[in-house]
Symmetry: C2
Subunit: 328 residues, 2 copies
């Protein structure tokens, strides 16, 4: 269906979702049913201040409108996923390690005034949980955990059918978990947490590099390091397999402890490290021994890189002031 | 105010709360404002079947009515706290290790038909959380954890202002947590969990007895063993202090991990072990090093043994079919 036929110039029936990542700002324009009609991405390397971000988002909006030949008034709302501790109710980014560490940035207000659009913001991993619940591996579930394991580690938690945010908006910052196999202390204020150091992408890279150095192994440069290590483990490399097993064991403890507290029906694993099938398999093998009070069930994200973007579209649709019908 | 003046014979404005404990069945009759007018308790040693329990509760009801000179029709509802995995919505006790291990007992239905009263059932530690939120240390909080550490260990969790139950009603069964300092595996199906073995009342008793045996120390019989050990630690006994420090360290990891997942504003410690001021102090000392993503705040139960009973009264008031006014 050509884009032109999707709108009438007088209606405002489209929304935009934004996913702020480590290297890219990804945006998508969707219709009222949540179908993505256009996408764009831009590098985040030149963003350091909130006005920089607003400017990049505005350029992205213009680009999406040109792609779809939609008029500006057809946009109903925008929602932005933020990598960091975010107060979605007041619309303030309390803390992010991105952009040279922002604190207490009233991003919602800046977006609404800078773009002249109703806006919403939310922690990016919580948006991924929303995305997986809407269109992915957790469709219709009321109690589940989306666990993102990439460079960082965090969880988007649904409990009783609602996002769990916590008293200080920091629920699900599970990169800080201390379990058998992690460090027993926090390294320093602001430093990555024990679980993140042990099984996050950067932690794995450092461990794998050390193993390679100590054993005169050469690193494949074609893959991300965690992927390369997992591939080697699958191919029978004993060094890689030892690290894989250790990673799976630590991940199993973290998942089990979350399951003991929350009793979710499912864990959806996402992020560059989390989507590895070989890691999933090893972790499930270990979790078979943990049958009480309930054995955690795992699966891999169905949406992959799009989980956060789809979550932001869902949030934008919920933010839009008037819609004919709520999409499923 | 004499009991006689508290009712008119035509009204049904009173409720009964029941707390099923390891050795005692405790019951209280309260008015519509939640004030306790009478209490009774009976041993649970002769209870083994659900009809036994119903019979004991009926005798307790009669006793409470005699104490208050209230007519039977003045009772509006009854709520019962159950030590075990409980589906409060369907009113079924899924699993309890009490009474020789019940499974799938439709207790709500049995109560309503056996007592001819609207009834509700709930996990006992969740009721304690309700009690502390209503009248105790967690008044008005939306996100907090009531952590009961007695013979068993479990948590009643409020998130977003609602009880967190989990997909299989087993949320908060934190006696199963695996943290540094606990066993790394589950002992066996149905056995106490790793955290409970490490710092629960029975686990501490076994450890303290072993320490006493190995070091030719005599045990005081006047106190419960955990209390006796904590008193000795306070008095400067180096053996007891080592066990206290180890207990506090393990408890600190468990609390910190729960805080990382849930980000509650407060942990309320209850149960025979949990209310120890010296354990609280040692645990707080350790948690000062855990500042990210948020430092857990701890306090001790304000209601003590009455937390569960007050929670059951609150639940009974919410269950009562008609009330003039909802108490705060």
């Amino acid at each position: 269906m050509p884009a032109k036929s999707l709108h009438t110039s007088s209606s405002r029936r489209y929304v935009v979702g934004v996913d702020i990542g480590g290297t890219n700002l990804r945006m998508a324009l969707a219709n009222a049913r949540g179908q993505i009609l256009a996408r764009c991405r831009t590098s985040t390397t030149r963003i350091s201040t909130p006005p920089d971000l607003i400017r990049h988002v505005r350029h992205g909006l213009d680009h999406l409108l040109r792609q779809t030949s939609l008029p500006r008034p057809s946009l109903q709302a925008i929602a932005v996923g933020v990598p960091g501790v975010t107060d979605s109710a007041s619309g303030v980014v309390l803390l992010t390690s991105f952009f040279g560490q922002w604190r207490d940035v009233p991003l919602l207000k800046l977006l609404e005034s800078g773009l002249d659009l109703p806006a919403a913001i939310e922690n990016d991993v919580r948006l991924a949980a929303i995305g997986e619940r809407w269109r992915g591996s957790a469709r219709g579930l009321s109690d589940f955990v989306f666990l993102a394991i990439g460079t960082g580690i965090a969880a988007g938690i649904f409990a009783n059918g609602h996002l769990l945010r916590g008293a200080g908006h920091a629920a699900g910052e599970v990169g800080y978990l201390v379990v058998p196999g992690t460090a027993l202390e926090l390294a320093a204020p602001g430093a990555p947490g024990p679980l993140e150091c042990a099984i996050g992408g950067e932690g794995l890279r450092l461990q794998w590099q050390r193993i390679c150095r100590e054993n005169q192994l050469t690193l494949s440069r074609s893959d991300s390091v965690a992927t390369g290590m997992f591939n080697r483990a699958s191919a029978g490399d004993p060094f890689a397999h030892t690290l894989l097993r250790r990673t799976a064991q630590t991940l199993a403890y973290a998942i089990y402890d979350m399951a003991v507290v929350l009793n979710p029906s499912l864990f959806v694993l996402g992020g560059g490290v989390g989507v590895s099938p070989v890691l999933l398999e090893q972790t499930q093998l270990i979790l078979r021994r943990f049958s009480e009070p309930a054995q955690p069930k795992l699966t891999v994200s169905a949406l992959g890189d799009d989980a956060q973007l789809l979550g932001s579209i869902r949030l934008a649709l919920d933010t839009a002031p008037s819609r004919a019908k709520r999409p499923k």
